[in-house]
């Protein structure tokens, strides 16, 4: 257990210090939010309507872009081999790494989302609900992405392959995240059901992600 805690602490520290690039995702998120009005026009009513969707897409893309840092650095300097040979179960070790990654890249997105919601003319209470769906949903994105990160490391192929493999798997998270977020701006839409399903998806991916990623690393790195 202490080994996992140490791993979590180490990854968090590395991410927030120089060269970690933890806040790069937030900057990218802000840029996506800024680019959308150039695409769809400055109509505040329209932006308010599609605001939750923009925030979700932005968070999804920002999460994807950060994924190659999740395991690649440890693979390059050899510490991934140490983790592989260590006593801690590999599944839990990669889960701890993914958790640290979410704390330093996913959580900042969630914290920044309310501010960006104001840019997109989402009103007060709705901003809170969208941020809540992001808080619940972004861990699922990171843990699904963990599989892609493991594949990218095992195959020594980065670039576009990772998003191509990961994006289709995130379809359910996106659907239910945006559905729950939409409930905040459309009175007719239900909130409870999609939100609970979103929680279920996150819990499922927290299990599937580390198991599959550990399988990839065990079978792939030889």
């Amino acid at each position: 257990m202490t080994a996992l805690a140490a791993l979590l602490l180490r990854d968090t520290r590395l991410a927030v210090r120089v060269g970690g690039g933890a806040l790069m995702g937030v900057l990218f998120f802000l840029l996506v939010v800024t680019m959308v009005p150039f695409g769809v026009g400055p109509d505040l009513k329209l932006l308010g309507r599609i605001g939750p969707a923009i925030l979700w897409i932005g968070a999804l893309l920002a999460t994807l872009l950060g994924l190659d840092r999740l395991l690649a650095a440890d693979h390059d300097d050899g510490s991934l081999d140490l983790i592989l040979m260590g006593h801690a179960p590999l599944e839990l070790a990669v889960a701890a790494k993914a958790l640290a990654h979410w704390l330093t890249t996913g959580l900042p997105l969630v914290i920044a989302a309310p501010l960006f919601g104001i840019f997109l003319n989402i009103d007060g209470s709705a901003i809170g609900i969208v941020a809540l769906t992001l808080l619940v949903g972004t861990p699922a994105l990171t843990f699904i992405g963990l599989i892609g990160a493991a594949l990218a490391v095992a195959l020594q192929r980065g670039g576009l392959l990772l998003p191509v493999l990961v994006l289709p798997l995130t379809v359910p998270v996106l659907i239910f995240g945006i559905a729950a977020g939409d409930a905040a701006i459309l009175n007719a839409a239900p909130f409870g059901a999609p939100f609970l399903i979103l929680i279920a998806l996150t819990l499922t991916s927290v299990v599937i992600g580390p198991v599959a990623a550990a399988a990839v690393l065990r079978h792939g790195l030889d």
Binding site: A154, L161, L167
Partner: protein, 245 residues
């Protein structure tokens, strides 16, 4: 001969040589019967007219597209549990075939949608989930093409295939939910118990023909892949010998 003996690639090659002519002939016969029934026996739909005949290609394409992923999941277990090269071959060769059948389903669906719905594409639940299935096939093929060493590629692809097998039902469910939320009651329905026997019979014959076609293509693709790997090994040996001399 026990079935496990088929796991020997040479035995498999011998069996494939014996099976393929029969399979190909059965495919041709089933297609002849199915296409005849589809075009000349099956009645036109009272609303859709002759375009209903697209269904005889569209629906089997969808079924075989899904069957492809199911077969890959079984092969993926073989790769991860027994690390058997023939399972690798079965895993690799099913992907392009499954993708091709899914593509046939999507294209015929679009061609059918144009006269029926007035548009080539609607974000209907079935269309969307088949599209996601197609994208996952393409991702998997991209993964195969990204790695040179076939054994390593197989293990990575096997994990991704199994993750996909777990996720595809979830994706299907969520897309259904999403579609009914956004456009209720406009979902076009074919199938279920509402289908008339005069149309159902040709459809089943066509499904049989598609399945036989799948089997023919699959067995020959596996044979080709085994031979391709042997050629690769021979070339590597040749290079090693040349360097040693």
């Amino acid at each position: 001969m026990e079935w496990i003996a088929l796991a020997n690639p040479s035995r498999f090659l011998a069996l494939a040589e014996r099976l393929l002519p029969g399979l190909a002939a059965a495919t041709a016969l089933a297609f002849a019967a199915g296409l005849y029934a589809a075009f000349f026996v099956a009645p036109e739909d009272y609303q859709q007219g002759a375009t209903v005949r697209i269904m005889f290609i569209h629906v089997p394409g969808a079924w075989l597209g899904m069957l492809g992923w199911a077969i890959m999941s079984v092969a993926a277990l073989g790769t991860l549990v027994w690390r058997h090269p023939l399972a690798d071959v079965a895993l690799k060769t099913a992907a392009p075939i499954g993708a091709a059948f899914t593509f046939v389903c999507l294209v015929t669906g679009a061609l059918w949608g144009r006269p029926m719905w007035g548009t080539y594409w609607v974000w209907d639940a079935r269309l969307t989930s088949v599209l996601v299935l197609f994208l996952m096939y393409l991702g998997l093929i991209a993964l195969w093409r990204a790695i040179e060493d076939p054994a390593r590629a197989a293990r990575a692809a096997a994990v991704l295939t199994l993750v996909g097998a777990v996720n595809l039902p979830i994706i299907k469910f969520s897309v259904d939910w999403w579609s009914t939320l956004h456009q209720p009651a406009s979902v076009f329905r074919v199938g279920g118990s509402t289908i008339h026997p005069a149309i159902l019979a040709p459809l089943l014959v066509m499904a049989l023909a598609f399945t036989l076609l799948f089997a023919t293509l699959y067995v020959s693709a596996m044979r080709n892949e085994i031979l391709r790997r042997r050629v690769r090994t021979l070339r590597l040996l040749q290079v090693h010998a040349a360097q040693g001399a």
